[in-house]
Symmetry: C2
Subunit: 217 residues, 2 copies
């Protein structure tokens, strides 16, 4: 979900083990360096009317704690100006009608695009124990959506992560992303993954994304 | 593949986009801080006689360049003391009969364990364009096998990655891992992902792993 008018975003993941939740950001202008507001980027990235399946909805595999957190965020959309973002199978579906730079769109003839963290199609299937890379991949995915919606950040330039505690399979982790600054066409962000009660920090990370405008096809 | 007698390892991945290749390491003792030699760790991690499927074998989805590199490494196993490592579906299969610390083994009743980078079962299906997280996950996987075989490094403590160039879908990337040092029960490693001809660097990363001995069950 994203709070309207602020330069930050995160999404509720369908993955049981990892759930993204945002909070408010300081020190940021409501428009990106390229002049697109968060609202216009959200409406471009997450069209309200679409036939595409939204994966950011509860399914039978969600644990009670995850469902409860989802409801908590959903309540915010009624009063606090928060927006629920859909999450399609692939980022390509989110940017339909837009042209990727560097001719990337033509590098493969495969059509079944999925975001990397959505490789497993069965609901509730997730990660093996103690695989740090899977958490980094989830953080990069959360960073990348945030970066795009906060200011057209499109490509990861660098990522760092420090692991603090193991996340048991089947447990709930909340990812909070902050956009720390936007400077020289770069977005600097930090992320903390922790338990819902914030008593256990699973990992902290930071990332830098390059801003690139997408053009209409 | 791994070079016998040296404290380093990597594996040939079945993923078309990313292929791990090792090279020789300086400044390391042939035994880990815990006294297990690479040879004994390899034989424990990669049993020669097993019914488990080895995924580190060519399949129809491999591009000619990847097949050629595989053959090049395979040739080394005949003369240079290199060993071909198998790669099972899950790291749990590699450490069968060993007890995980912290009671991790009992955290889920699911039995279809797969390593995160092996979520997609269809041969040749791989990554979406430009997803930095997928490369970090692959590097972490390569780091983790290297860390274990080089000195019982078991858990990722930290990871950093800098992205230099995009990896087009379907192209070949070679991952070289160095174990830089082992100190205070920690393994410090670096990894470079580049094109086979080494002319294009895709990303550079570093990682720290915690050493933990696994006990017989």
């Amino acid at each position: 979900m994203i709070r309207r008018g602020f330069q930050e975003a995160a999404r509720l993941s369908r993955h049981r083990a990892l759930l993204g939740g945002p909070h408010i950001l300081p020190r940021l202008n409501p428009t990106s360096a390229f002049g697109s507001s968060t609202d216009s980027l959200v409406s471009r990235f997450c069209p309200e009317k679409t036939d595409l399946k939204d994966y950011a909805l509860p399914n039978a595999s969600w644990c009670p704690d995850m469902l409860s957190l989802y409801q908590e965020f959903l309540e915010k959309t009624k009063a606090d100006g928060w927006i629920k973002l859909p999450s399609f199978k692939s980022n390509r579906e989110h940017i339909q009608g837009l042209k990727l730079p560097f001719g990337l769109a033509a590098t493969s003839d495969k059509s079944d695009w999925r975001i990397f963290t959505r490789c497993i199609q069965e609901e509730g299937q997730g990660y093996e124990f103690a695989h740090g890379g899977s958490l980094v991949a989830m953080m990069d995915e959360t960073f990348s959506k945030t970066a795009y919606l906060a200011g057209e950040g499109l490509f990861t330039l660098s990522l760092s992560i420090r692991f603090k505690n193991l996340i048991p399979v089947g447990s709930l982790a909340v990812l909070n992303v902050d956009v720390d600054k936007i400077e020289d066409q770069k977005l600097y962000m930090s992320c903390i993954a922790q338990s819902r009660d914030q008593k256990t920090v699973y990992a902290k990370s930071s990332g830098v994304f390059l801003q690139l405008q997408l053009e209409q096809e």
